[in-house]
Protein backbone atom coordinates (compact mmCIF):
# COMPACT_ATOMS: atom_id res chain seq x y z
CA UNK A 1 0.00 0.00 0.00
CA UNK A 2 1.66 3.28 -1.07
CA UNK A 3 2.01 6.13 1.37
CA UNK A 4 -0.39 9.04 1.13
CA UNK A 5 1.35 12.26 0.17
CA UNK A 6 -1.59 14.72 0.12
CA UNK A 7 -0.63 16.09 3.53
CA UNK A 8 2.80 17.38 2.45
CA UNK A 9 2.91 21.07 3.30
CA UNK A 10 0.11 20.88 5.83
CA UNK A 11 0.68 23.12 8.86
CA UNK A 12 -0.71 22.65 12.37
CA UNK A 13 -1.83 25.26 14.90
CA UNK A 14 0.97 26.85 16.96
CA UNK A 15 1.61 25.57 20.48
CA UNK A 16 2.95 27.81 23.25
CA UNK A 17 5.13 26.75 26.16
CA UNK A 18 6.10 28.80 29.22
CA UNK A 19 9.65 27.98 30.30
CA UNK A 20 10.20 27.51 34.05
CA UNK A 21 13.50 27.41 35.96
CA UNK A 22 12.58 24.21 37.82
CA UNK A 23 11.65 22.45 34.58
CA UNK A 24 15.05 23.38 33.15
CA UNK A 25 16.71 21.99 36.29
CA UNK A 26 14.66 18.77 36.10
CA UNK A 27 15.63 18.29 32.44
CA UNK A 28 19.30 19.13 33.06
CA UNK A 29 19.38 16.62 35.95
CA UNK A 30 17.82 13.88 33.78
CA UNK A 31 20.34 14.27 30.97
CA UNK A 32 23.32 14.91 33.26
CA UNK A 33 23.95 18.48 32.13
CA UNK A 34 25.65 19.67 35.32
CA UNK A 35 26.59 23.30 34.60
CA UNK A 36 25.49 25.96 37.10
CA UNK A 37 23.94 28.12 34.33
CA UNK A 38 21.12 25.50 34.09
CA UNK A 39 20.37 25.71 37.84
CA UNK A 40 21.43 28.98 39.34
CA UNK A 41 20.07 32.39 38.30
CA UNK A 42 23.13 34.32 39.45
CA UNK A 43 25.51 32.01 37.59
CA UNK A 44 23.38 32.31 34.47
CA UNK A 45 23.24 36.10 34.68
CA UNK A 46 26.98 36.28 35.29
CA UNK A 47 27.42 34.32 32.04
CA UNK A 48 25.27 36.87 30.19
CA UNK A 49 21.84 35.20 30.21
CA UNK A 50 18.58 36.85 31.30
CA UNK A 51 17.84 33.96 33.66
CA UNK A 52 18.56 30.23 34.12
CA UNK A 53 19.30 28.98 30.59
CA UNK A 54 18.06 25.73 29.05
CA UNK A 55 20.49 23.15 27.65
CA UNK A 56 20.20 23.05 23.83
CA UNK A 57 18.33 19.72 23.80
CA UNK A 58 15.61 21.23 26.05
CA UNK A 59 14.19 22.08 22.61
CA UNK A 60 12.50 18.69 22.86
CA UNK A 61 10.50 19.80 25.88
CA UNK A 62 8.99 22.96 24.40
CA UNK A 63 8.59 21.86 20.79
CA UNK A 64 7.54 18.18 20.89
CA UNK A 65 3.94 18.92 21.80
CA UNK A 66 3.48 20.77 18.50
CA UNK A 67 4.34 17.54 16.63
CA UNK A 68 1.56 15.43 18.18
CA UNK A 69 -1.32 16.51 15.91
CA UNK A 70 0.67 15.73 12.76
CA UNK A 71 1.78 12.30 13.95
CA UNK A 72 -1.84 11.44 14.81
CA UNK A 73 -3.39 13.10 11.72
CA UNK A 74 -5.38 10.55 9.63
CA UNK A 75 -4.49 12.56 6.50
CA UNK A 76 -0.81 11.81 7.23
CA UNK A 77 -1.72 8.22 8.01
CA UNK A 78 1.14 7.11 10.26
CA UNK A 79 0.78 3.60 11.68
CA UNK A 80 1.82 4.50 15.20
CA UNK A 81 2.38 0.86 16.22
CA UNK A 82 5.34 0.37 13.86
CA UNK A 83 6.75 3.91 13.96
CA UNK A 84 10.32 4.55 15.07
CA UNK A 85 12.15 7.84 15.47
CA UNK A 86 14.70 7.60 12.64
CA UNK A 87 16.45 10.94 12.74
CA UNK A 88 16.50 14.39 14.22
CA UNK A 89 18.07 17.74 13.51
CA UNK A 90 18.06 20.93 15.54
CA UNK A 91 19.42 24.29 14.43
CA UNK A 92 19.64 26.66 17.38
CA UNK A 93 19.14 30.40 17.46
CA UNK A 94 18.63 32.61 20.53
CA UNK A 95 19.15 30.84 23.88
CA UNK A 96 16.00 29.85 25.82
CA UNK A 97 15.77 31.07 29.41
CA UNK A 98 13.36 30.70 32.33
CA UNK A 99 10.49 33.15 31.85
CA UNK A 100 10.44 32.84 28.06
CA UNK A 101 7.27 31.95 26.17
CA UNK A 102 8.07 29.75 23.19
CA UNK A 103 5.67 29.31 20.28
CA UNK A 104 6.21 26.32 18.00
CA UNK A 105 4.60 25.69 14.63
CA UNK A 106 4.93 22.31 12.94
CA UNK A 107 4.34 21.26 9.34
CA UNK A 108 4.60 18.17 7.18
CA UNK A 109 7.81 18.59 5.17
CA UNK A 110 7.80 15.32 3.24
CA UNK A 111 6.24 11.88 3.00
CA UNK A 112 7.96 9.22 0.92
CA UNK A 113 8.44 5.50 0.62
CA UNK A 114 11.53 3.35 0.15
CA UNK A 115 11.98 -0.41 0.45
CA UNK A 116 8.61 -0.89 2.12
CA UNK A 117 9.27 1.81 4.69
CA UNK A 118 7.43 5.09 4.97
CA UNK A 119 9.43 8.22 5.77
CA UNK A 120 7.42 10.97 7.46
CA UNK A 121 9.39 14.19 7.85
CA UNK A 122 8.08 17.05 9.97
CA UNK A 123 9.62 20.47 10.43
CA UNK A 124 9.01 22.82 13.31
CA UNK A 125 10.00 26.37 14.04
CA UNK A 126 10.07 27.82 17.54
CA UNK A 127 10.20 31.53 18.36
CA UNK A 128 10.36 33.37 21.68
CA UNK A 129 8.17 36.21 22.98
CA UNK A 130 10.29 38.75 21.05
CA UNK A 131 9.76 36.89 17.78
CA UNK A 132 13.38 35.65 17.69
CA UNK A 133 13.87 32.14 16.37
CA UNK A 134 15.17 29.81 19.09
CA UNK A 135 15.20 26.52 17.21
CA UNK A 136 14.36 24.99 13.87
CA UNK A 137 13.86 21.23 13.92
CA UNK A 138 13.49 18.36 11.46
CA UNK A 139 11.89 15.18 12.82
CA UNK A 140 12.06 11.99 10.73
CA UNK A 141 9.76 9.13 11.65
CA UNK A 142 10.06 5.78 9.91
CA UNK A 143 7.17 3.34 9.64
CA UNK A 144 7.86 -0.26 8.71
CA UNK A 145 5.55 -2.20 6.43
CA UNK A 146 3.65 0.60 4.71
Amino acid sequence: MPVKTEAIGKEYPPVTYEVGAEKIREYADAVGQGEAVHRDREAAQAAGFRDVVAPPMFAVVYSARALGPGILDPEVGINFATMVHGGQEFVWGEPVCAGDTITTTARVADISEKDGKGFYVFESTSVNQDGDEVVRATWTNIVRGV
Binding site: V31, M57, V60
Partner: protein, 131 residues
Protein backbone atom coordinates in the same frame (compact mmCIF):
# COMPACT_ATOMS: atom_id res chain seq x y z
CA UNK B 1 38.54 28.81 25.15
CA UNK B 2 38.62 25.29 23.77
CA UNK B 3 40.81 24.78 20.73
CA UNK B 4 39.61 22.24 18.20
CA UNK B 5 41.20 21.72 14.80
CA UNK B 6 40.67 19.45 11.83
CA UNK B 7 41.40 15.84 12.75
CA UNK B 8 41.21 16.41 16.52
CA UNK B 9 39.14 14.07 18.65
CA UNK B 10 36.72 15.64 21.09
CA UNK B 11 37.00 14.35 24.69
CA UNK B 12 35.06 11.07 25.07
CA UNK B 13 31.89 11.30 27.09
CA UNK B 14 30.98 8.18 29.09
CA UNK B 15 27.74 7.76 30.99
CA UNK B 16 25.84 4.74 32.30
CA UNK B 17 22.10 5.45 32.56
CA UNK B 18 20.75 3.67 35.63
CA UNK B 19 17.68 1.44 35.70
CA UNK B 20 15.30 4.31 36.52
CA UNK B 21 16.80 6.89 34.14
CA UNK B 22 14.12 6.34 31.46
CA UNK B 23 11.46 7.19 34.07
CA UNK B 24 13.19 10.42 35.05
CA UNK B 25 13.74 11.33 31.39
CA UNK B 26 10.07 10.56 30.66
CA UNK B 27 9.03 13.00 33.39
CA UNK B 28 11.52 15.64 32.29
CA UNK B 29 10.66 15.39 28.59
CA UNK B 30 6.98 14.46 28.69
CA UNK B 31 7.49 11.32 26.57
CA UNK B 32 5.78 8.49 28.46
CA UNK B 33 5.76 5.94 25.63
CA UNK B 34 5.58 2.61 27.54
CA UNK B 35 8.38 1.03 25.50
CA UNK B 36 10.70 3.27 27.54
CA UNK B 37 9.30 2.81 31.04
CA UNK B 38 7.52 -0.57 31.12
CA UNK B 39 9.75 -3.60 30.77
CA UNK B 40 6.79 -6.02 30.43
CA UNK B 41 5.20 -3.90 27.70
CA UNK B 42 8.50 -3.58 25.84
CA UNK B 43 8.99 -7.36 25.83
CA UNK B 44 5.38 -7.88 24.75
CA UNK B 45 6.05 -5.83 21.59
CA UNK B 46 9.24 -7.78 20.83
CA UNK B 47 11.97 -5.63 22.38
CA UNK B 48 14.66 -7.16 24.60
CA UNK B 49 13.66 -4.84 27.46
CA UNK B 50 12.57 -1.24 27.99
CA UNK B 51 14.74 0.99 25.81
CA UNK B 52 16.27 4.44 26.18
CA UNK B 53 14.57 7.43 24.58
CA UNK B 54 16.45 8.25 21.37
CA UNK B 55 16.36 11.91 22.32
CA UNK B 56 18.05 11.10 25.64
CA UNK B 57 20.90 9.48 23.71
CA UNK B 58 20.97 12.50 21.40
CA UNK B 59 21.22 14.72 24.49
CA UNK B 60 24.38 12.83 25.50
CA UNK B 61 25.84 13.52 22.04
CA UNK B 62 24.88 17.19 22.46
CA UNK B 63 26.50 17.29 25.91
CA UNK B 64 29.75 15.90 24.53
CA UNK B 65 29.84 18.80 22.05
CA UNK B 66 29.14 21.59 24.55
CA UNK B 67 31.69 20.09 26.96
CA UNK B 68 34.27 19.93 24.15
CA UNK B 69 33.59 23.61 23.47
CA UNK B 70 34.09 24.61 27.10
CA UNK B 71 30.56 24.25 28.52
CA UNK B 72 28.74 27.24 27.03
CA UNK B 73 25.27 26.10 25.85
CA UNK B 74 25.41 28.75 23.07
CA UNK B 75 28.34 26.96 21.45
CA UNK B 76 26.19 24.19 19.93
CA UNK B 77 24.65 25.66 16.78
CA UNK B 78 23.35 22.57 14.97
CA UNK B 79 23.10 18.83 15.59
CA UNK B 80 21.82 16.24 13.13
CA UNK B 81 21.59 12.56 14.07
CA UNK B 82 20.28 9.20 12.93
CA UNK B 83 18.92 6.75 15.47
CA UNK B 84 19.97 3.17 14.76
CA UNK B 85 20.41 0.37 17.31
CA UNK B 86 18.26 0.74 20.40
CA UNK B 87 19.88 2.00 23.58
CA UNK B 88 19.21 0.27 26.89
CA UNK B 89 19.56 1.29 30.54
CA UNK B 90 22.40 -0.07 32.71
CA UNK B 91 24.96 -0.18 29.89
CA UNK B 92 27.66 2.42 29.38
CA UNK B 93 27.18 4.93 26.55
CA UNK B 94 30.38 6.22 24.93
CA UNK B 95 30.19 9.35 22.77
CA UNK B 96 33.13 10.03 20.45
CA UNK B 97 33.73 12.63 17.77
CA UNK B 98 36.30 13.93 15.31
CA UNK B 99 36.62 17.42 13.89
CA UNK B 100 35.97 17.23 10.14
CA UNK B 101 36.60 20.87 9.34
CA UNK B 102 37.21 24.22 10.92
CA UNK B 103 36.33 27.55 9.37
CA UNK B 104 37.28 30.48 11.61
CA UNK B 105 35.60 29.77 14.97
CA UNK B 106 33.10 27.34 13.48
CA UNK B 107 33.90 23.65 13.81
CA UNK B 108 32.06 20.67 12.27
CA UNK B 109 32.32 17.44 14.27
CA UNK B 110 31.43 13.93 13.08
CA UNK B 111 30.15 12.18 16.17
CA UNK B 112 28.38 9.02 17.36
CA UNK B 113 27.26 7.16 20.47
CA UNK B 114 27.82 3.46 21.18
CA UNK B 115 26.90 0.92 23.82
CA UNK B 116 29.51 -1.81 23.32
CA UNK B 117 29.32 -2.66 19.60
CA UNK B 118 25.83 -1.24 19.27
CA UNK B 119 25.75 2.16 17.57
CA UNK B 120 22.74 3.96 19.06
CA UNK B 121 23.37 7.39 17.49
CA UNK B 122 25.06 7.21 14.10
CA UNK B 123 26.19 9.49 11.30
CA UNK B 124 25.76 12.51 13.51
CA UNK B 125 27.10 15.92 12.62
CA UNK B 126 27.50 18.82 15.01
CA UNK B 127 28.34 22.42 14.32
CA UNK B 128 30.08 24.14 17.21
CA UNK B 129 30.97 27.78 17.54
CA UNK B 130 34.08 28.32 19.65
CA UNK B 131 33.56 31.43 21.78
Amino acid sequence: MADLNQGDSIPELKVTPDKYLPHRYAGASGDFNPIHIDNDFAQMVGLPRNILHGLYSMAQVARAQTEAAGGDPRSLRRLKVQFRGMGVPEEEIVVTGTVRERDGDTVVVETEAYQGDNGIVRNAEAEIELR
